[in-house]
Symmetry: C2
Subunit: 374 residues, 2 copies
Amino acid sequence: MRITALSGGVGGARFLRGLLDALPPTGEPGATTEVTVVGNTADDVTLRGLRVCPDLDSVTYTLGGGADEARGWGREGETFTTAGELAAHDAALGLPPQWFALGDRDTATHVLRTRMLADGVPLGEVTTALAARWGLADLGVRLLPATDDRAETHVLVDAAEAPLDAASVRSPLAAGLDAPPGTHALHFQEWWVRHGARPLPRAVVVAGAAAARPAPGVLEAVATADVVLLPPSNPVVSLGAVLAVPGLRDALRRTPAPVVGVSPLVGGRPVRGHADACLRAVGVPATARDVAALYADLLDGWLVAPGDEHGDGPALPGAVVRAEPLLMTTRDDAARIARAALDLAADLAADADLDVRRRSRPTAAPAAHAGMVA
Amino acid sequence: MRITALSGGVGGARFLRGLLDALPPTGEPGATTEVTVVGNTADDVTLRGLRVCPDLDSVTYTLGGGADEARGWGREGETFTTAGELAAHDAALGLPPQWFALGDRDTATHVLRTRMLADGVPLGEVTTALAARWGLADLGVRLLPATDDRAETHVLVDAAEAPLDAASVRSPLAAGLDAPPGTHALHFQEWWVRHGARPLPRAVVVAGAAAARPAPGVLEAVATADVVLLPPSNPVVSLGAVLAVPGLRDALRRTPAPVVGVSPLVGGRPVRGHADACLRAVGVPATARDVAALYADLLDGWLVAPGDEHGDGPALPGAVVRAEPLLMTTRDDAARIARAALDLAADLAADADLDVRRRSRPTAAPAAHAGMVA
């Protein structure tokens, strides 16, 4: 079986680990030989000249067994010696404190990636090289960036609410954005980490997405999959940003494989992170049904928490909705949820009405997602 | 009093710390207000994409109180977490082990420098910014790189003795060197650190030196000094490389200030490091007099260890030779030696015969130094 999954960061990574737990071990009869993960690269950021890919690294570290589970980001057993030195330098120069501390173990990843990219190696090949350290291939996992091109999520905010200073991210992509007077574009990481996703966004856009191309292997992985999964990742800045890469959304609409998503909301609240703030930013109510509507043009099955099956909100004629407890507290929870998603996909693959329902799906991306392509 | 000193790495840095100890504290009447250090940049190297300036950092760390005294390089209390991770990545990819481990504290220096250089900031300004962390200005010290341009020492060796591999330094400057068949150019750091200065050098050249310009402030610091000092740094790859920057040697010949050097050899053996191997590499016997001859066109005074005053070797008509115990074991030793150098400089400044002796100096650089400019 070939499974292709889109993914954001930690939430997606934990779902994917559950997926691997739910599959028969590699080598057994009928074992899955390939899980292809299409990882979000739109929250990538250059900090101190080092190229950081938080979502790709979260997937690699989590599946490879090197993630800090309690903190929810970075490496287990991490130290911050270099970061402390950098802070001492900033203080000596009277610079504002940095808001993004890179751990010493994590820094090795960024140093290697930055050097390889500077040598002209595409991000996809860099990601494969980094995954070698973590044995992802032995797990039957292939991690691909959504795109090798640079496209980064930015949030338009009132300039007074989050002024730019010497500790701000300076992405060249921000220069091309059209910010109304009194507003400016913050890099997603600055909005999310430095400002706790608090300044009210006027818009969320993936700067550079319009010119980005899917990384080698991505479209094929979607087209030739037996199952396509959308983990409970952030529907705006994670999966929305993956779908902002031209060609990807169309591939998901056309794949013969059933496309099954898992709601990132339980009773209107995000399982983790700031999905609610991101949904508000693009004018979408924080309900499981409204999130599903963001994928309405490509979704065949939708797993929601019990109690979230019904309620008001947009119609979802193309998708079968099924309830399953979605709180992903333990690793076993993740495996159970992944198994439920695979079961739903299997039922859909055997369902003669799949194509009938597909013809009732809208044919265009919803406005909230379409507006993110910049 | 304005003192200008050339410097290599640790040996030079310890001499300079002694010099500061020997001077009246800043603020006292007659206190020295400025010590300008012209640091060697020819052993700079790009490792994992990070720009490393070992000699500049040795001066900064040693004077700022952050150097590891026992190990003789890098930062005190250093950890090597990032380096360990990089080694794990190399092993996973089947790459040869790296031979240059960057410490976690040290890495902060290189990350900041690499980013500033990438932003177009000249090395001199970068060095000033890094020195701010260590309070060098408060000590009355200004550290300048010999040049802002990239010029790196390379050693021509038999290719079979030190093959190039994936762990070799790949400096673009090496491409311009003319290596006879069966030989190739090793970056100085690779020869020195990886191979322990063992493969017999056919030549030592500073690739890029011919096109390098002195960094802003360097020529002025030499021309307007009251005293110019040559610490007991390596006469080939440290001071020889500084003097390979066009214009610098001429400024030292012309400065009205007495130029006083300290021999790096005691009884024919280097006080520290591989000065003997480097001298052999350029065909110069390892004696205090032969080292002085490398500076014969610019030297007014030469401090040697007792017993090294006489002996065979080239004549030194331009310089006054004085004996002083030169083993620099303690910080007090360094202060005493620096004081002896300052005393010799004061005597020379008051000596009516200084200009007479200067007229007997050779007018060209010795062949061993002249051959290093590539």
